[in-house]
Symmetry: C2
Subunit: 194 residues, 2 copies
DNA sequence: TTTATTTCTTGAACTACTTCATATTTATTG
DNA sequence: CAATAAATATGAAGTAGTTCAAGAAATAAA
């Protein structure tokens, strides 16, 4: 059952008794999402935080010039939301779309608040999630500031080899801050060299 | 007394009884730091999280080509650390330096862990800090992906007018992902227009 | 209050990356 | 398994931002 997957995940960060684990996962609802289906759209408040059981997602914004810019990817055992929309419960600016047929576990904003209030361990869990997320984004910002387009791609390749096959090139390019044409050139030069 | 400033800050996010507030701030130590003094350096583990009572700081990395890249600024009522070093307690990659003579309140890593264990409210406080930090960095990444150098500078100006006067141009340029020469040109073209 | 050091400015040449246009390959659908 | 759409590739021209060098201005030190 998919909820065991979430329990296993949570147990990596806080150790829960059986009844606590049960209480935690029963706050989530399983949802199936088809490829190309949106779970978040601009102007609608993002009311849920989603844990990916199976499948892949991408969050992105559309800039004034019409170009898409990817903020996050998520595959199995990652979380996805428009985090600004979710935590402040104000309208989203991002799209979140399924890249594959997927299964997610969703928790609603108010339910999450109650969980955190009910049990110190749950509060700790969400604190650790946020801290790890923040540390990750610090590394990302710094890497983006300090490295060329090619180095950013190489780094993504070695850090997230399992994402690369499942993510369209144009989406990866926009995550890494370059055009899909330029990433195409990097990839082809690269394979030529080896 | 400077610890009241921290209490006021914390009360914005969680409401503490007098004895709780006292317990919280007594975990911190006041430290004076002179301009150009470092509080964090690469290879040494960042053992403290620092709350700026008065003054200004900058965290930055030095890339392979020798160039400095700024990750964060902090003035009064902001926090600063090499967050990756602090939460994982492994060696820092960043420098953190005082831009002015400053006063900070520092909490040691283990003391923070005990605080969070001791009181659910303290755990909530650090959870909220991390969530707000993460939401902030998401906005930053997206803005960097979607806007030109000039637009990034204009946005910083309007979002953080009080930082601009206190931060050297080369540091701001490296925060915004451009050279100091280019920022100089943006600034001068700008004043010409108006 | 001169001297040294750090920061900012400006010009000119350069380059990493983009844009646009079109062809090719790969995936999706009836 | 055609037919259509979506994603990737490639050339050629363009540009946003960099680099280097040298001078001017501001800040700190003596």
């Amino acid at each position: 059952m998919s909820k065991n997957q979430l329990i296993d995940y949570v147990q990596n960060f806080v150790s829960l008794e059986d009844d606590e684990a049960e209480q935690f996962v029963s706050a989530f609802e399983e949802v199936k999402v088809k490829k190309r289906q949106f779970i978040v759209q601009p102007n609608f408040t993002n009311r849920h935080r989603s844990f990916v059981v199976k499948g892949a997602f991408r969050s992105y914004a559309i800039a004034n010039d019409g170009q898409e810019h990817t903020l996050q990817f998520a595959i199995e055992n990652w979380w996805i939301s428009d985090f600004n929309s979710y935590i402040y419960q104000h309208p989203a600016t991002l799209f979140i779309v399924a890249l594959e047929d997927s299964t997610i576990l969703q928790i609603e904003y108010n339910t999450e608040q109650e969980l955190k209030k009910a049990n110190h361990k749950f509060e700790t869990f969400f604190r650790i999630m946020a801290e790890k997320g923040l540390a990750f984004e610090h590394r990302r910002i710094l890497f983006n500031l300090t490295h060329s387009a090619e180095a950013r791609y190489e780094s993504f390749l070695s850090n997230f080899p399992n994402f690369v096959q499942r993510v369209p090139q144009y989406a990866l390019a926009s995550y890494l801050g370059m055009t899909t044409e330029y990433l195409s050139r990097i990839r082809n030069n690269r394979t030529d060299k080896s």
